[in-house]
Symmetry: none
Subunit: 422 residues, 2 copies
């Protein structure tokens, strides 16, 4: 059996065509297959309709070497992808006896009887076989039409992904992975980032570097043509990291909070947070890192001024004179968080996330971030563009990057930072 070189993908769901949910499986599957040299020729989104799903399957089977379908395997009557596959295969649907036992055990393990409606989920076209789902009740279905494999995977991403890996393992395991490195940075604008690496971005370069920006994180993608490009990809990745220093924090899926965690763990330091405008999201980001209990004892969220005074020892005089969104309060919050938890580093956020609360002098998006450690204290003022959620997310990223730079002994200003504000 030769490995499939091309694929077509199909996402099923009325909610996708109604604009209520965003289809992300097309991208996930394309990236996964592409890394193994299997190119996606086309992607279709169809509704929960047997005829439409079957028609899309037939077209895809005619065009490509591999077809992957996601969604429509749930227990309810509007989930009809298995019926569409049966129609394409011209096979009757049968109950998979083994899978009934597995599913009954799954519910028993959760102390619940199996609802009758879930019985539909263990039906399959007679010539197909089921793919195990360790994370949910819907098994996937694998079949073959005229030698072209077709796999149907459940819609929930955490159930879909491991099953996609299984499909890749089955059909593409022998393909060497194409080398790809993605370098990620925070605190630098996309134009500046592009200018710094312009020579690597030329379209006529053997391996042109492409940049994208998403959620304030700038990424550079370096992709080899085949396994032989691994050294050149690595060389380019290092060149991008140098050009983006000190803002580049990770490769691939590595998060900024994980980078901060590694630095903290490596130096035996601990960190405590005091949050106002981010309301817990900074602590939430740090504790997303597995093992963070080694360097994160705890923190406070002080939304009300009274909590800033009582929990962190912020001076009522400073609050009265400078307001809660100020250098003095940011510094006192960071120092208070550090002292209270006995941590090496304290970091604080206080700002105006909106939609209300802005003034001419301190418009929505004005945020102070404070840091306190053995070397003293620092505070920086930012003016983040965007609405409430965006301002809060950008504040978390800036605070994490400021901690990272502090741990590295760097002090470059970040994107959206305002110089010489007091």
């Amino acid at each position: 059996m030769t490995a499939p070189r091309t694929a077509c993908t199909i996402s099923v769901g009325d909610e996708l065509l109604a604009g209520e949910s965003l289809d992300t499986h097309g991208r996930t599957i394309a990236a996964t297959l592409g890394a193994r040299g299997c190119r996606v020729l086309g992607h279709r989104v169809v509704g929960d309709d047997v005829a439409a799903i079957a028609a899309a399957m037939r077209e895809a089977l005619a065009d490509a070497d591999l077809v992957i379908v996601t969604g429509g395997l749930g227990p309810t009557l509007d989930d009809v992808t298995r019926e569409a596959l049966a129609e394409v295969l011209e096979d009757p649907l049968v109950v998979d006896v083994e899978a009934v036992s597995t599913l009954e055990a799954w519910f028993a393990g959760r102390g619940r009887p199996m609802p009758e409606s879930n019985r539909r989920q263990v039906m399959r076209p007679s010539s197909a076989h089921l793919l195990p789902n360790p994370h949910g009740t819907a098994p996937g279905i694998a079949a073959s039409v005229g030698g072209v494999p077709i796999a149907v995977l459940p819609g929930p991403p955490r159930e879909m992904r491991p099953m996609l890996d299984l499909v890749v393992e089955t059909h593409l395991a022998a393909e060497p992975a194409r080398p790809v490195v993605v370098v990620r940075a925070v605190g630098i604008g996309e134009s500046d980032a592009g200018t710094r690496i312009a020579e690597f971005m030329r379209r006529d370069a053997p391996l042109p570097v492409a940049t994208t920006v998403s959620d304030s994180i700038v990424s550079a993608r370096i992709r080899g043509r085949d396994a032989g490009d691994a050294d050149e990809v690595e060389r380019l990745a290092r060149a991008v990291e140098d050009a983006w220093a000190p803002f580049a924090f990770a490769r691939g899926e590595g998060s900024l909070e994980a980078a901060v965690g590694s630095l903290l763990a490596g130096s035996g330091a601990t960190i405590a947070t005091a949050e106002s405008c981010t309301g817990g999201l900074l602590a939430g980001a740090l504790t997303a890192v597995p093992g963070s209990s080694a360097w994160f004892p705890g923190s406070v969220v002080t939304y009300a001024n009274r909590r800033k005074v009582e929990d962190l020892g912020v001076s009522e005089i400073d609050l009265e004179r400078d307001g809660a969104v100020s250098r003095s309060v940011a510094v006192a919050m960071a120092a208070g968080a550090r002292a209270r938890a006995g941590a090496s580093i304290g970091v604080s956020t206080t700002g105006i996330a909106g939609p209300d609360g802005g003034t001419d002098a301190k418009p929505v998006g004005t945020v102070w971030i404070g840091i306190a450690d053995d070397d003293g204290t620092d505070a920086r003022c930012f003016r983040f563009p965007g609405e409430r959620d965006t301002v809060r997310r950008r504040t978390v990223l800036a605070a994490l990057q400021l901690v990272r730079l502090r741990l590295l002994g760097a002090s470059e200003p970040l994107l959206w930072e305002r110089a010489s504000v007091s």
Copy 2:
């Protein structure tokens, strides 16, 4: 001219099929058209290839009353959507003289001469006309094939959206909005949710109700065929809310934290949180609600046991005897958070989010959620499936739902709750 009732959409771009960019236009356009009673029958993603784009256009034109294509209008040689449209129309490409002047003026206004490559952007099939682009250099193109209108819009979202509004204005302005209600619930499984409203989900019902689950939130979508269905949609939405009581918390985009916030604001109550495994995410969710400062004074994240003792007054004896993940500690944390901030309600989380720290008796996913208020204390034990991020997110949703139910005087067990654990 009757208004189009159905549409097909096409997104063009190699980067979409390579998994490098996420296609969001399908959703945006579907939601926009759907609100005007024009249903999207299918969405296709194709690469920058004349034959593939033309084939997708032909299929879409055969299926629907309106076709909208995005992407592939840029100045570079890999942008070939206009060539594909010319092929479908069997028309030559001509330079639009008026548009040349507009484009030259656009560049002159930015103090730059027009690059020769941009001249391609003002070409159009001879029977088509251009759509103005106030935000960029690529005009859109509008044409008609056998009476079916087809519009090609540029890929960048801020250029695409205003042009989409223009297309809607042209073809769908007279259509009254179709009534749509989405009912959302947390704490109930999808199968149970489906069983409770099975009679409304029958495919042969005049307005069949469809359910989806995403990130532990179960949604039911009720969609009218036209404006005349508004009363029936409302009746069905109430029936679903009744069937899902007390778990249904909002309609449409309303969040669970906003629902909790409204109840708190309405009753003059305040809330404080004490978080271990959620590490700040529960406070982060509550403070995502604009105006939350009215009912959220502040909170603590106590990751280390010492912080639970010092910040919340948890007894060292309880911690020693029962462990940090226990009913006694959850109750003491909630009571401590409430007392410390002088809030009406305290809510706590303590659990094992993983990947490490699980035992046979308390595997990863074991979480206690505590509540304290004037009426006393309560604590519930959960066993959430999933990895670290998922366990944390599910804990936040369950904690919010428990607070909501407490405020409503309800006490139904939630999904994944374990009965009679001490």
